[in-house]
């Protein structure tokens, strides 16, 4: 039953035209929800959450650092899945997604590295150390850049998608390393504060604004992916009847 529904979705969203109309319906309400959630989370965290017993106010950068890092990691997982579908099933929408997911994720990885460095100076006493977490996160940024560059450098979009898809899949190994680096080896970076299972070691008054900022940024990422995918779909289907009809009607 669930499998049937998923399969139907897969086939429906696999159609560029269906995706276009579907995203037209989703974006008008997803965009404001994303912006409002992120704004609420950030204002709550940066201005109203209590200060930390050890780090004082400098810990507040967590409300940007953690959402950005988690977004970059999740984005890369999505990139890996798109890569698998693009390489094995040659699905057009997966190729589109491969192109749509990468830029925002690369930006988030860069934000994560910069905010981490800025946070590291006042707390650890250094901007950068070559510890496992920081180094693997830097590699994640390079992976993102690699996927983007590979798509830009190969002229044929279908061939580009296969090459980039393979790179995206291989890079997923690095995502696992980023996630568990703080548990497997000794690092300067702290262990995970938010735990999927078990109790998080953060006061609820700080946890809720953090979760809200994370959710907001993820939704904003989704909005960005939809917008980029729509542009890419239009470009790829520029010779089709439905796109030409849309253009004539003046629909953006």
């Amino acid at each position: 039953m669930v499998w049937q529904t998923l399969k139907r979705w897969y086939h429906m969203l696999g159609s560029p035209r269906y995706f276009y109309t579907f995203s037209s319906r989703v974006l008008p309400w997803l965009t404001p929800i994303a912006v409002l959630t992120l704004a609420a989370g950030l204002v709550w965290g940066l201005a109203f959450a209590p200060s930390d017993y050890q780090q004082g106010n400098s810990y507040r950068i967590i409300f940007i650092h953690v959402p950005a890092s988690s977004g970059a990691l999740m984005g890369y997982m999505a990139l890996g899945v798109s890569g698998l579908v693009a390489v094995v099933w040659r699905m057009k929408m997966a190729e589109v997604m491969l192109k749509a997911i990468a830029p925002f994720g690369a930006g988030l990885a860069a934000i994560s590295l910069v905010t981490g460095a800025l946070w590291g100076k006042p707390t650890w006493g250094t901007y950068w150390q070559w510890d496992a977490r920081m180094t693997s996160m830097l590699i994640l940024l390079f992976m993102y850049v690699g996927v983007i560059a590979l798509q830009a450098v190969i002229r044929d979009p279908r061939q580009a998608a296969r090459a980039a898809g393979l790179l995206a899949m291989v890079g997923v190994i690095n995502v696992v390393i980023v996630k568990y680096s703080v548990e497997w080896v000794q690092t300067l970076h702290q262990g995970s504060t938010l735990k999927m299972f078990g109790e998080s070691t953060i006061d609820p008054a700080m946890k809720y604004p953090l979760l809200l900022s994370m959710l907001g940024l993820w939704l904003l990422y989704a909005v960005n992916v939809l917008l980029r995918a729509r542009t890419e779909v239009m470009w790829r289907e520029r010779r089709s009847k439905w796109v030409n009809k849309l253009v004539k009607e003046g629909d953006r």
Binding site: Y53, A132, I177, M206
Partner: protein
Amino acid sequence: MNAVRKQRLILVVSILVGLAIACGLMFYALRQNINLFFTPQQVMAGEAPLDTQMRVGGLVEEGSVVRDQQTLDVQFVLTDGKGSFTVHYQGILPDLFREGQGIVANGTLISTNRFEAEEVLAKHDETYMPPEVQDALEKAGHPGAKKVNSEQ
């Protein structure tokens, strides 16, 4: 799934599994080099090289910090419960440096019980809470309050 796709899927999955295993083995083999620092236990066991630039990490032992009144010289004992040695440092310590705090020091090991640090970095653990909560925990003698000072 048709035969061509199945073949591609098998190929891709086997490439990925192979790479994952290779990375896993590499990571495992290089574990010691990937570790950012040596622990006091390793230093005591003689696993850390003498007279070489390297990092050590552990907890600053309670009551062991001795500051020079005239200069920036500071000396403290670094421990992990299984070993300990003295660290000597000249310079400004990070704000989070305190007794019981986890730190990472960069420098050279003179002997198995003396480390000359050129740089001291403070670690912090994954616990975040407002100061009032920390006070309340301490007052109540909650075991969580002690956890504050114990870096893993």
